[in-house]
């Protein structure tokens, strides 16, 4: 019981405190790849600290939904941090849910953020909301089908157990179904967290914004919470990808050594994934908005193929 609480606190700390570093590292890598020195990886911490000291300007058009959304976003993402296996195979809330709960918790956050975008009464917010929910809806089948493929081989849909099963039998993880599922989920990660080629997180043109458009009205501490939440979403998604497909370094939470090993393994895996995302973002241009469904349909095809691969092999 006490181990469970310790793991819970540790997971929240890792996700909450590590997320800005992840985003900062990604930005620095992208800058270096285009020949700039770029900001320091610790820059997002300075940004958040500064935002907390600023006043919040709230539009007269908005309602309580606008003010409640940043807290709702943070709540959903910290809860997902407790469900995903971060550094052990026994996440604290593993009994409370699995991948389906995870997907729908993300959707809860998106639901509130989209409502907040509409609440401001500006055309930008509505546009961002409309695009964001369209992409979220189209990405969902891919996630469910891809994880179903994994669950078939692990004979359980509980994330901890999947990681445990594949961790114990590494050769089970190295087959075409897994590669296809990984590719499908990687594309979904790019779509859900708003990275290129789906959405440019650094754009200033409102007509090209998806996630940014919904947060144009937020300022001060609300903006700090929203930015932190979106960094955590990237962290949780990457952790999910890393730990589901490369479950090395994860073990039962018996003491500080296992935890440390898990954290180091996670850091290494996230470093690789971050580099991959940075390389991809530098090399590709943003897709036209109405080409994104084609990309997501392609990812669904990959997930479906991975499922067929599992059925055929069985």
């Amino acid at each position: 019981m006490s181990i469970g609480i310790a793991v819970a606190v540790l997971q929240i700390a890792i996700v909450g405190l590590g997320a800005p570093l992840l985003v900062g590292t990604l930005r620095t890598l992208k800058a270096r790849l285009v020949g700039r020195r770029g900001p320091s990886p610790w820059q997002p911490y300075a940004d958040l600290r500064k935002l907390l000291a600023k006043e919040a300007v709230v539009s007269t058009t908005t309602s309580w939904v606008f003010r409640a959304t940043p807290y709702a976003l943070v709540a959903t993402l910290l809860t997902t941090a407790l469900i995903v296996p971060v550094m052990t195979v026994r996440p604290p809330l593993a009994f409370a849910g699995n991948i389906i709960l995870l997907v729908y918790l993300f959707m809860l956050g998106t639901f509130f953020l989209a409502l907040a975008g509409l609440d401001a009464g500006s055309a930008f917010g509505g546009m961002g909301s409309s695009r964001e929910v369209a992409i979220a809806a189209l990405a969902e089948p891919t996630v469910i089908v891809a994880v179903f493929a994994l669950a078939l081989r692990a004979n359980s849909i509980d994330l901890g157990r999947i990681v445990e099963r594949f961790g114990g039998e590494p050769w089970l993880a190295a087959n075409p179904a897994h590669l296809l599922a990984f590719a499908a989920l990687f594309i979904v990660m790019l779509a859900e967290t708003g990275r290129l080629p789906v959405d440019n997180p650094a754009t200033h043109l409102e007509l090209t914004m998806i996630h940014e458009a919904m947060v144009l009205e937020y300022s001060g501490r609300y903006l700090a919470l929203v930015e932190w939440a979106s960094a955590m979403k990237l962290f949780v998604f990457m952790t999910l990808l890393a730990n589901l497909f490369v479950p090395l370094g994860l073990a039962e939470p018996t003491g500080p050594t296992t935890a440390l090993m898990g954290v180091l393994a996670l850091a290494a895996k996230l470093a690789v994934l971050t580099t991959a995302v940075a390389l991809l973002e530098t090399a590709v241009a943003k897709l036209r908005l109405f080409r994104v469904p084609e990309l997501l349909a392609g990812s669904f095809a990959l997930a479906f193929l991975s499922l067929m691969a599992v059925f055929v092999v069985r």
Partner: protein, 636 residues
């Protein structure tokens, strides 16, 4: 007088809940009055499944009737039809033979026809009622044919005799009966492609009636499908379950796709009923397929998922319809494009509608999430089945359920956001008033039910489990777990919405405390929305529902086949100045174009051809009589 009628219905509802609960827990009851009706007389039997639906009808009728107390004008017109409607609905689940069932069914349909015809002046209402009447009676014809066929084959009109004789039926009779009965019940439930009456009839009726029609009347179609596929005809061939699964997948997707582009608030809710019926069918279909393959525990799981979703949908759909009714009453329009900003003028309605929207979008920790989770799990375990064809059908179900969940969330962001948030888009919306107290009481009751069913699945799943195992006649051990967690199939999966609810609530307030501790600035300043420094900020600059649905229209344009109409009026003096632009982007219904219109054309052609018989000549008619007599003499 009006209050008396509705008060009686409330009492009837309470009685139904009590009786239904008694039935669900295994306490059976029966009533036989052989001389009241022909063909077997009046026969009522209370069994667990019937008890569940009876309790559901009663529980849903209570808030709907309380709503009527708060809506004096709308409630006066059809009060007796309403009472007949609720009473006949209560009789259907406990009917135990053909005549009782069909008479109660027909009374229910007639009463609801009169209720749909509420606003006799509007052409739209009249045509909606007409379509409804035609479709429901076509369904009745199928039901009659199926029940009489089965009754003739078994030799008795009583349902328990059918149950006993089920193993001895020939496969032709069994399949024919299934087909006819399933078609009839599916039409009532609103399964695609027999759904066209639903989006016409439900918006036309007054809101408390729509709540009941969407919440419980179509569930009686589900009740019939449950009886047909799992009870009266015994264990059928696999194609039944596969057909139900495919129909469910199609209904859920098509329902939500049409809802996305709909701007009439009540019609949007009606399309969502079609979607949720599809989800329920996914559960029933999987239960049927597992039962054929011999996995009784999984069949119970599928059935529990279907029953849970039935109850959940009744709760949140009734809540949404009552909320929509309050909104329509306050603004005088059903068109979402004329609403907006209602959250500030109708805070209670907005909060309840938000709970309903979150519930129907299957967001944790509310009830919609729990039943969709269970449905997903019922579908996921198809890997135990060896037939690859069945695996493919299940995969289709999983993919469509996932897509439906996402699209439903998108649709309700639109419905809630455009209706309640930002600035009012019309004068009526700017002067809207909050709903009266009875309406608020009704909505809060249903919202509470949604929350309780969401965080307390461990309380209700044992009840559903016992009903499901009674229907399938097997042991109830598919779902285990303790007071906090629901465990499915041993180690396969578990969920605890109560824990998630507590954690979410705690983590919601944690940042507030943390910000306080860290010393973050608490200053807030109110200013206008950022409009790029524009001088004028009006409601015309808000996003519209049409614009919100645009990405979906483009992605799914092969399904919607939208047409565009653009009318530009130029200033008479110069083509460089535009006076007016009118833009319309309507979608076309493929069912109307490819199914119903050709069918109607065929029917008209056939009628015209047959009309040649009615020549008006008395001599020809005498010749017909002579020919008929000769034919009968030859045959006899």
């Amino acid at each position: 007088m009006t209050r008396l009628v509705y008060g009686v219905v409330v009492l009837l509802g309470v009685a139904a809940v009590g009786l239904g609960g008694h039935g669900m827990t295994g306490g059976g009851a029966a009533l036989r009055l052989p001389s009241v009706l022909p063909l077997g007389g009046l026969a009522l039997t209370l069994d667990p499944l019937g008890g569940l639906f009876l309790a559901l009808i009663g529980f849903a009728a209570i808030p709907a009737s309380i709503y009527a107390f708060g809506d004096a004008a709308g409630a006066r017109r059809g009060r007796f039809a309403y009472a007949v409607f609720v009473t006949s609905m209560c009789v259907v689940p406990v009917a135990a033979n053909t005549m009782t069932f069909l008479i109660a069914w027909e009374l229910m349909s007639l009463a609801s026809y009169f209720l749909v015809l509420h606003d006799r002046q509007s052409k739209e209402s009249v045509s909606a009622a007409w379509v409804y009447a035609v479709m429901t009676h076509a369904g009745l014809a199928c039901l009659l044919a199926g029940m009489l066929l089965l009754g003739a084959d078994v030799g008795s009109p009583h349902f328990e005799d059918w149950r006993a004789a089920a193993p001895t039926l020939t496969s032709t009779t069994r399949n024919a009966a299934f087909l006819l009965l399933a078609l009839g019940f599916a039409g009532k439930a609103g399964v695609v492609p027999l759904h066209v009456w639903l989006p016409l009839a439900h918006p036309a009726a007054p809101s408390h009636v729509s709540a009941l029609m969407s919440g419980v009347m179509i569930k009686l179609g589900i009740y019939g499908l449950l009886r047909v596929s799992l009870d009266w005809l015994g264990i059928g061939p696999p194609w039944w379950g596969a057909a139900l699964l495919i129909a469910g997948a199609a209904s859920s997707l098509i329902g939500v796709l049409y809802a996305l582009v709909e701007h009439d608030l009540k019609r949007l809710l009606a399309f969502h009923s079609i979607e949720n019926v599809g989800i329920i069918l996914l559960g029933i279909g999987s239960a049927a397929l597992y039962r054929v393959a011999g996995f009784d525990a999984l069949a119970v799981l599928g059935l529990i998922a279907a029953l849970y979703h039935t109850v959940n949908h009744a709760m949140f759909k009734a809540l949404l319809f009552l909320g929509a009714g309050a909104v329509v009453h306050a603004t005088g329009t059903r068109n979402m494009e004329a609403m907006g900003g209602l959250i500030k003028r109708m805070p209670w309605t907005a909060a309840c509608f938000l709970v309903g929207s979150a519930a129907i979008a299957a967001l944790p920790p509310l009830n919609g999430f729990v039943s969709e989770w269970l449905t997903f799990l019922a579908l996921f375990q198809n890997m135990r089945l060896e037939a690859i064809g069945q695996n493919l059908v299940f995969t289709l179900g999983i993919a469509s359920l996932a897509l439906t969940g996402g699209l439903a969330m998108a649709c309700f962001v639109k419905a809630f956001g455009i209706t309640f948030l930002a600035l009012p888009r019309s004068d009526a919306a700017a002067h809207a008033h909050e709903a009266s107290r009875p309406i608020r009481v009704a909505m809060v009751t249903l919202a509470t039910a949604c929350v309780v069913l969401g965080v307390g699945p461990t309380l209700v799943i044992p009840a559903f489990g016992s009903v499901a195992s009674a229907v399938l006649r097997t042991a109830p051990d598919a779902i285990g777990g303790d007071w906090l967690t629901v465990r499915v199939s041993g180690q396969f999966a578990s969920v605890s919405t109560a824990a998630i609810g507590v954690v979410l609530a705690g983590l919601f307030f944690a940042p507030l405390v943390a910000l306080r501790l860290v010393g973050a600035s608490r200053r807030t300043r109110a200013y206008e929305t950022w409009g790029c420094g524009r001088i004028v900020q009006t409601p015309r600059m808000e996003y519209t529902a049409t614009a919100f649905a645009n990405p979906f229209k483009r992605v799914f344009d092969f399904f919607y086949r939208p047409t565009k109409r653009l009318d530009i009026e130029f200033h008479p003096e110069s083509r460089f100045f535009v006076e007016r632009i009118e833009y319309e982007n309507p979608t076309r219904s493929i069912f109307e174009d490819w199914l119903y219109r050709p069918a109607l054309r065929l029917l008209h052609a056939g009628a015209r051809a047959a009309g040649a018989l009615q020549s008006g000549s008395a001599n020809q008619y005498l010749a017909y009589i002579l020919a008929a007599l000769l034919l009968m003499l030859v045959l006899a």
